[in-house]
């Protein structure tokens, strides 16, 4: 009997609000939470907007020690992790800790803290030989992002397989795919997974500035990210975290758990093309979609919704539109597509998990969140991108995709599970 991985708990820290409820309200209402950057003085930079989370660690119950010690992204993971644990209804301390795993996605880890400490130690870049006397005791935790999975593992009491999955902007999908593999192969019964990212710091902004990937619509930050719109001019960065409790199906059924859905298929592909460029044909993303569908024993025509990468760059829009058509054929034209980055920005290694959670909530509510800011659809993008307003639709099988620097292309098929409780 093959083992299946289902989602029984979710937790979110996102722009527009903390917690799953606030997140769903934003998505379902099609509002945007991108704004001018307030975390630091962004005036020297080309793109000065982001989807920022209004995150108060004290209000979220973190101790002063945790706040001092942990990078913001790790703080997100702890807070969203606690929400997901409680949402799952699992008594974590009653489980065999050796059967609990963690798989956490992040693209740039603790960059924000590393940069902050660099500025101090190098006296704003004056010295190549960074001064050791300014090093904070937990600097090594910022150095290697595995420290964040450690934090989440401590939060849930995991003693099974624990890892960070760091594949750039597909990390949030790939970490959940990795978690599903751990469950299916029998290495764990529960894996707490997801992605976290708090990349909003000068070096991250500049990374995207210098390659002109980010939007310059600084005067209109709330509508700056415009996937599939012909006036789009780039991505808007974001931050956030989604944590997902993934559980073996029979384990979940035995305790009568509410099941959001099943990770029925997952595949990743390298495009072997370019570290930042995408080939307009979308072959590798399409390959990933096909494999994920096959694994899920689903036909292209079963797909009721596509959660797009929708980063807001032209090359991405063309790339994924081509991939959807290549995989789904004529059915692609009948399938609603939407992109959440239009509302919450691109939180790099977290966004894939945020998109999974948003899609699961769409399952629950029979409502597909829209693509915000889509007023003038690019004629080269000729699918149904669900502009502006959420749409009621009952969906049993959906597809969510991601695409990232390094050439990573990932696809996941989520399915409703019969007899899912609650």
């Amino acid at each position: 009997m093959s083992r299946r991985a289902v989602i029984t708990g979710v937790g979110v820290v996102a722009p527009g609000g903390i917690g799953t409820k606030a997140y769903w309200k934003l998505l379902s209402e099609g509002r945007t939470a991108t704004r001018n950057i307030t975390h630091f003085d962004a005036s020297p930079y080309r793109s000065r907007m982001a989807g920022e989370a209004d995150f108060d660690p004290v209000r979220e119950g973190l101790t002063p020690q945790e706040i001092r010690r942990l990078d913001r992204a790790a703080q997100f993971a702890v807070v969203a992790g606690r929400e997901a644990m409680s949402d799952s209804g699992i008594e974590f301390d009653q489980l065999d800790p050796g059967r609990i795993g963690v798989s956490l996605g992040t693209a740039v880890g603790c960059t924000t803290s590393l940069e902050r400490e660099f500025i101090v130690g190098s006296d704003r870049g004056k010295y190549w030989e960074v001064d050791q006397s300014y090093a904070v005791p937990h600097l090594y935790d910022y150095f290697t992002p595995s420290s964040m999975a450690t934090e989440l593992a401590w939060t849930v009491g995991a003693e099974g397989p624990v890892s960070v999955v760091s594949t750039g902007c597909t990390s949030g999908l790939d970490s959940v795919g990795y978690a599903a593999e751990l469950i299916m192969e029998g290495s764990a019964d529960v894996v707490v997974t997801g992605g976290t990212e708090a990349p909003l710091s000068p070096i991250t902004v500049v990374c995207f500035d210098v390659i002109r990937a980010s939007s310059t619509r600084n005067d209109d930050p709330t509508t700056a990210c415009r996937p599939f719109d012909k006036t789009r001019d780039g991505l808007v960065l974001g931050e956030g975290c989604a944590i997902i409790v993934l559980e073996e199906l029979e384990h979940a059924r035995a305790r009568g758990a509410h099941i959001y859905g099943e990770v029925a298929g997952f595949a990743s592909r390298c495009n072997a093309y370019h570290m930042t460029g995408l080939h307009p044909e979308g072959i590798e993303m399409s390959d990933a979609i096909n494999i994920a569908l096959k694994q899920a024993r689903a036909d292209a025509t079963d797909v009721g919704y596509i959660n797009a990468h929708g980063s807001g760059t032209k090359q991405n829009d063309l790339h994924e539109t081509a991939a959807f058509k290549r995989s789904l054929g004529a059915h692609a034209y009948k399938t609603p597509v939407s992109g959440f980055k239009s509302m919450i920005g691109h939180s790099l290694g977290a966004i894939g998990s945020l998109e999974i959670v948003g899609s699961l909530l769409a399952f629950e509510q029979d409502l597909i969140p829209p693509t915000a800011n889509l007023h003038e659809q690019d004629p080269e993008c000729d699918l149904d991108y669900t502009p502006l307003v959420a749409r009621e639709k009952k969906v049993d099988t959906l597809l969510t995709v991601g695409s990232g620097f390094g050439g990573f292309q990932s696809a996941m098929v989520l399915k409703k599970v019969e007899g899912a409780g609650r």
Partner: protein, 404 residues
């Protein structure tokens, strides 16, 4: 169950570039921990490291790759080239979608990153390299390998500090089971720049002894921490059927068992290393008595050494199995070190010899370890257990065996 064999090994280690040079040096106990040359260490209390000598990236890589890559990516790309050449894989031998790339990282391209941070903060945003966005992040090596060799199969990057070097190979085996023919896998870490060095010093794990012969002494009563180094191993891991498609392909050994566990924060709970080793043995379907050598994690920190010695003793009994730590010659290489240990174990089997642990003089008697000291031990090796731990609680274990 799909089997996974190692057919190509690319090594960049402080004591040797390439599997032949590395193995010769390692069997002879040639230590390569030396005063740091890559930056001026005068202002840092830790002054020694394992640096990969004589590596001229420009001799191996096209000029256009140099401005867009950190040192660790260059080592990775060259290591991958060697592994593929050793395995005799030619372009188009294997469908491009049937090749996976699974690497491990501990740090990103931090030397590159420090340079760009310095430009940003000292000169201004317009001076930052267009390559910064990907040259320093943790996914860079998988992406660059895939582009260099045109591989269009699955790609992944795992981060679990030193244990990640083992986890990446475990994940590669998973990909073979899911249907790919061949995986390029392993890790290379290099973070020998001032910014990264300050972080290493802050870990609390580096030895404060700057005598290269006395700094890194795992299991010794004078253990005082470890020495950091750079390098690692990239391997070609494939199915036997795939290897058979290229007649004459040398099979170094087989990966037969793997498991990962995590240490609880609660001191009342037993550390997970022993459990990882037991699970890996179970995964291999093998008994402890079939293991001929253990490649230890060898943290060089007394509490961690004690915990590892107890785990080994718990499984094999007192002095129950030869244990070695060739990383005493190179320093700890983080994700690269986990992979290099697996490569060493595979080479041990292939060449019927256990490389020694160097510099250790006084093994703590209570550990009851049969540590292979100073001289290689020759004789048939059928199977080896590799242990790796990552800071923060990570434990991984891998069982490798001669291929029959």
């Amino acid at each position: 169950m799909t089997r996974a064999v190692v057919t190509g090994i690319g090594i960049a280690s402080p004591n040797g570039l390439g599997p032949t040079a590395y193995w010769r040096a390692t069997l002879h106990g040639e230590a390569a921990i030396k005063p740091i040359t890559r930056f001026d260490s005068a202002n840092y209390w830790a002054k020694i490291a394992g640096e990969v000598p004589g590596f001229e990236a420009g001799r191996h890589l096209q000029g256009r790759l140099l401005p867009q890559t950190d040192h660790m990516t260059r080592l990775t790309l060259v290591g991958t080239d060697w592994a593929l050449r050793g395995a005799g894989v030619q372009p188009n031998d294997i469908p491009d979608t049937d090749i996976a790339v699974i690497t491990a990282a501990t740090a990103g391209g931090y030397e590159f990153g420090q340079r760009e941070l310095q430009k940003l903060w000292h000169q201004g945003p317009e001076y930052v390299s267009a390559y910064q966005s990907f040259a320093w992040f943790y996914a860079v090596n998988t992406g660059q390998i895939s582009i260099r060799h045109g591989t269009r199969g699955p790609g992944a990057v795992v981060v679990s500090e030193q244990a990640g070097g083992i986890d990446s190979i475990g994940h590669a085996r998973r990909q073979l089971r899911k249907g790919v023919q061949l995986a390029l896998t392993g890790g290379m870490d290099s973070s020998l720049c001032p910014w990264a060095w300050v972080a290493h010093q802050a870990s609390g794990c580096l030895s404060r002894n700057n005598n290269p012969k006395r700094a890194y002494l795992p299991f010794d009563r004078d253990a005082s921490g470890y020495v950091a180094g750079e390098g690692g191993a990239i391997m070609v891991v494939e199915t036997p059927e795939s290897a058979a498609g290229r007649p004459g392909t040398r099979i170094y050994g087989e990966i037969v068992g793997y498991a990962a566990t995590f240490d609880s924060k609660m001191p009342s709970r037993e550390p997970g290393l022993k459990r990882a080793a037991e699970l890996a043995l179970r995964d291999a379907g093998m008994d402890a008595s079939e293991i001929d050598v253990v490649f230890a994690d060898a943290a060089g920190i007394p509490e961690l050494d004690k915990a590892e010695a107890e785990a080994i003793k718990g499984i094999f009994g007192p002095y129950g199995v030869p244990v070695t730590a060739p990383k005493t010659m190179t320093g700890r290489l983080f994700a690269g070190g986990g992979s290099l240990d697996v490569a060493s174990a595979i080479l041990s089997i292939y060449w019927s010899a256990i490389p020694p642990t160097v510099n250790v003089e006084n093994v703590v008697p209570e550990y009851e370890l049969d540590l292979v000291l100073n001289e290689a031990r020759h004789g048939k090796i059928k199977a080896a257990l590799v242990l790796g731990r990552g800071k923060g609680g990570y434990n991984s274990a891998m069982v490798v065996r001669e291929y029959r």
